[in-house]
């Protein structure tokens, strides 16, 4: 509706757009007034504290207009088709200012304490889901050390009463009736359709990952290309603070120059006022800006994603850049020359960035939850793998991981260093999404910086993909068909020793031999082949179509298979849209709801958060709220029962 290109619409767009700045959001005229008021405090660093009227207002220069000038070519913002993802943005009004923090603080801060909560509060919690009942006994072994220093949060009563309220039956009848009506109308079984059709979204998504054609020399196909470019649902731009393009997911330099110019102007406009532009909306497109040192990262989306979610995606891209360069060396490059062209040192990294970006566009539960998925394995079996890792550990090993198709099988690590999920995400992306390592065959020795671990130096990673059918053989010939197959098993051994290749290679040979001897390879292979369970395998008769369960303490998640209900990328993206929505609603600050129900004409969903876990689940609209809540409870029970199988607790620590 907002045609930016037409001048008469500018006003309407202006009011529809919201600009979030670091200071508390202000209306246009308050900016104007205060600018006059603070004119004499220009350059005063303490401007904010000098006068009460200025308190929430950083000092500014001049008298800027309430909104930055909108250049004509911003019309790209609305030249795109309306999509079902028609932005429903939740505004995290209390976003803290940009920091170097690399993932959600709250997912981190719960490490360990949560497990304790369950056992100590088991009595109180009994009434709500018999959580912990069958758990307490098995706490005995490897989790004890974790428990011992954990503080407790008493959440039992709270959650119980909340659930009680929400699960009242008042509304369920209404929904049932509604559901029946739809049933009657369509003639189809409504329970088969979780999402309403949206042809435009489907079509846009279908072409989302197509490459944009090259510009013809005479520019004859420019219009077509620009149309293609605009129809993308999602863009990522990375520029240097001097405005030099560093990376863009779609389009070459020639195509994006104008747009990077505009974005850069907007960003520097706010920087000029010692303010920070964090995000804004134009039409149905949401822009999120993140400034990190010498870099500006911009996410542009038409999908259902909150600012916080986009921010964590930008964080991941930023971490990928650090992982290639390290922070000090990147800063050095820019210290020498502000308009340094970072693309040269980043040569070859574009594939990794694009693999990350496409992962976000496709929708990744792992990124949404900033958590990892593990291969489901019996506790005793995992213990054997862990012990083997410890036994064969070579002297200079820092981290050792066994990974099967993006799922962690086991990890060996020093006691004082846990693995940062963001770092693992980068590694998994490199190995399983971007084909560069996998396709080459042989073994790899990769210098990389793990910014979550230490952003100032490189570590060296030994990578070897296993041929599960004859594990002692190197995978030297990997048939083309296996490219992108999700069941490959890799052994990753990370060391700070640059010369450690042959040492780690020896460890790998040793490890594989031992694992084969004690049957673990076979077990891993079986588990990989089995894949994820379906909802109805987990809880027979469950109405749930899918769920995500995140254990906050372990920073890990588990989920059932996408099949049979979400087979295509599009279905998964829609499911992820729904999860994104739930996620942003339940993470709304400062309210922090504990339970969130959502109902659409086609599905009913639930988000439930406690200090222990986050659960997101979805069922067809024919399901009542009570049934949904019961199903959710059953999932919780299942996870409690299977906790040491679906999650790696502790891991092999030395």
């Amino acid at each position: 509706m907002n045609r930016l290109s037409k001048p008469e619409d500018l006003a309407s767009l202006g009011s529809a757009s919201t600009l979030q700045t670091e200071a508390t959001p202000q209306s246009g005229d308050s900016i104007g007034k205060k600018d006059f008021a603070t004119e004499n405090s220009i350059g005063n660093e303490n401007g904010a504290s000098t006068a009460t009227s200025v308190e929430e207002q950083p000092s500014r220069e001049g008298t800027p207009p309430p909104l930055p000038p909108r250049p004509k070519n911003l019309q790209l913002l609305d030249g795109r088709p309306q999509t079902s993802g028609s932005l429903k943005v939740s505004r995290p009004s209390l976003q803290s200012k940009a920091t170097t923090q690399l993932s959600f603080a709250d997912t981190q801060s719960y490490s360990d304490e949560s497990r304790d909560t369950i056992s100590t509060d088991a009595g109180k919690l009994k009434s709500f889901t018999h959580l912990g009942k069958d758990r307490i006994g098995s706490d005995a072994d490897d989790s004890i050390s974790i428990k011992s220093f954990a503080p407790t949060i008493d959440i039992g009563g709270d959650a119980e009463s909340l659930l009680g309220e929400v699960l009242g039956d008042q509304e369920k009848d209404v929904i049932k009736v509604l559901g029946k009506q739809f049933d009657g109308m369509s003639g189809l079984s409504i329970s088969d359709v979780l999402f309403s059709e949206d042809a435009q979204f489907s079509q846009a998504f279908e072409h989302e990952f197509d490459e944009i054609e090259d510009m013809a020399a005479d520019g004859s196909n420019e219009e077509a290309i620009v149309t293609q470019w605009r129809s993308k649902l999602k863009h990522f731009l990375i520029l240097s603070s001097a405005g030099k393009p560093i990376y863009s997911r779609h389009g070459d330099d020639q195509l994006i120059t104008n747009y990077t110019g505009v974005v850069q102007t907007l960003i520097s406009f706010y920087q000029g006022m010692s303010d920070v532009l964090k995000s804004f909306t134009a039409g149905d497109v949401r822009f999120v800006v993140m400034s990190k040192g010498p870099l500006n990262l911009v996410a542009i989306t038409k999908l259902v994603e909150s600012d916080a979610q986009l921010r964590s995606q930008l964080d991941a891209l930023y971490m990928q850049i650090l992982s290639t360069l390290t922070l000090p060396s990147m800063e050095r490059m820019f210290a020498n020359r502000a308009n340094y062209d970072l693309r040269r040192p980043l040569q070859g990294t574009k594939t990794l960035l694009s693999a990350l970006a496409d992962g976000f566009t496709r929708g990744s539960p792992s990124t949404l939850l900033t958590a990892l998925e593990c291969l489901k394995l019996r506790k005793s079996h995992r213990q054997v793998v862990n012990n083997t890792l410890l036994k064969t550990r070579s002297e200079n090993l820092l981290y050792g991981l066994i990974v099967a198709g993006g799922k962690l099988v086991s990890v060996v690590r020093p006691k004082k260093h846990s693995l940062h999920p963001g770092d693992l995400h980068l590694i998994f992306n490199m190995l399983f999404e971007a084909g560069s390592v996998k396709a080459g065959g042989g073994e790899n020795w990769i210098p990389l910086c793990l910014p979550g671990f230490n952003n100032t130096g490189f570590l060296y990673m030994y990578v070897s993909f296993l041929n599960l059918d004859s594990p002692t053989e190197q995978v030297e010939e990997r048939p083309a068909s296996s490219h992108g197959a999700k069941d490959e098993v890799a052994i990753l051994l990370i060391s700070a020793n640059k010369e450690g290749f042959f040492e780690l290679r020896e460890m790998r040979d040793d490890l594989v031999e031992q694992l084969q001897k004690n049957g673990s390879i076979e077990l891993i292979r079986t588990a990989v082949k089995k894949g994820r369970m379906s909802c109805t395998d987990i809880v027979p008769g469950s109405p749930l179509r899918h769920f995500l369960y995140k254990s906050r303490g372990n920073v890990q998640f588990t989920m059932p298979s996408f099949e049979p209900h979400f087979t295509s990328d599009l279905d998964r993206r829609r499911l992820l849209n729904l999860y994104h929505n739930l996620h942003s609603n339940i993470h709304t600050r400062p309210t922090h709801p504990k339970v969130h129900h959502a109902t659409s004409t086609t599905n009913i969903s639930l988000a439930w958060m406690t200090p222990l876990f986050e659960l997101y689940c979805v069922a067809p609209i024919t399901t009542s709220r009570t049934a949904l809540a019961q199903a959710a409870n059953k999932i919780i029970q299942w996870v409690r029962r299977e906790e040491e199988r679906v999650f790696i607790i502790g891991g092999a620590v030395f």
Binding site: N396, G440, G441, G457, M461, A480, N497, R505
Partner: protein, 249 residues
């Protein structure tokens, strides 16, 4: 191509450490993939760090097991190169015949190898992507891919420096440079497989008998001077110590 398993009679076998160097995107990994897997992948993604592969090469009198370091060509990895070429008995310095600057880069690598690698190192200069250049004079590019018995004279084959479409580096120029520096010289195509096996066979033949040791020859676990190290491994002391503490229980 020369491959394992042909001769059942026990021949003396020895391993040769070989390193590939050259500018980014000239086709180093593709050459290796052609040699090791006899496979080619269009638009291969860039190598990160380095890949380690092995492949046997049967000569009439002995079997050579190549231990190949396929390094990434990007500049940021250049500081790691000494680790790979140190102790190498052979090096493949690759350039792209459609890109003049890549030959310059190759010349830099040759100079660095001559200065810093082990003195007896066998260096082959390889111009890759021959398939992009061969419009008319393809006939005499090679005598065909099947004389893989690779006599020591393999490098004598003559390419015509036909100025066809994409070629930017005339064969004559590169050949003259290779002769001057006493390098083996080939023009190859990883895509068609042209001359790929020949390069490795020629290298295998050129390695002096005396420098060949047992099957697990000069491995490469030696230490490098600390000076290169300190630049990159920049972890705090505590981190580096980490693994050493605590027992392996």
């Amino acid at each position: 191509m020369a491959d394992s398993g042909a001769a059942s009679a026990p021949k003396p076998s020895s391993s040769v450490k070989l390193v590939l160097l050259g500018e980014a995107a000239v086709g180093k990994s593709s050459l290796v993939m052609r040699f090791v897997n006899n496979d080619f992948q269009e638009n291969k993604e860039p190598t990160i760090g380095a890949a380690f592969l092995t492949q046997k090469c049967n000569l009439p009198t002995r079997t050579i097991k190549f231990e190949i370091w396929d390094t990434a060509g990007q500049e940021r990895f250049a500081s790691l190169a000494p680790m790979y070429y140190r102790n190498a008995q052979a090096a493949l310095v690759v350039y792209d015949i459609t890109k003049a600057s890549s030959l310059q880069k190759a010349q830099h690598w040759v100079a660095e190898l001559q200065r810093q690698a082990s003195p007896g190192i066998v260096i082959a200069l390889v111009g890759n992507k021959f398939d992009l250049a061969s419009a008319n004079p393809a006939s005499d590019a090679s005598t065909g891919g099947d004389d893989a018995d690779g006599t020591a004279t393999a490098e004598e084959e003559e390419d015509v420096d036909g100025e066809s479409d994409a070629r930017k580096v005339p064969t004559k120029t590169a050949k003259a440079y290779a002769d001057e520096e006493a390098l083996l010289f080939f023009e190859t195509s990883a895509k068609t497989g042209l001359n790929v096996a020949e390069v490795f066979t020629a290298i295998a033949n050129a390695i002096p008998e005396t420098s060949l040791k047992g099957p697990r020859g000069v491995g490469g676990q030696t230490n490098l001077g600390r000076q290169e190290d300190s630049a990159r491994v920049n972890l705090t002391g505590a981190n580096a110590q980490g693994p050493k503490e605590g027992c392996a229980c």
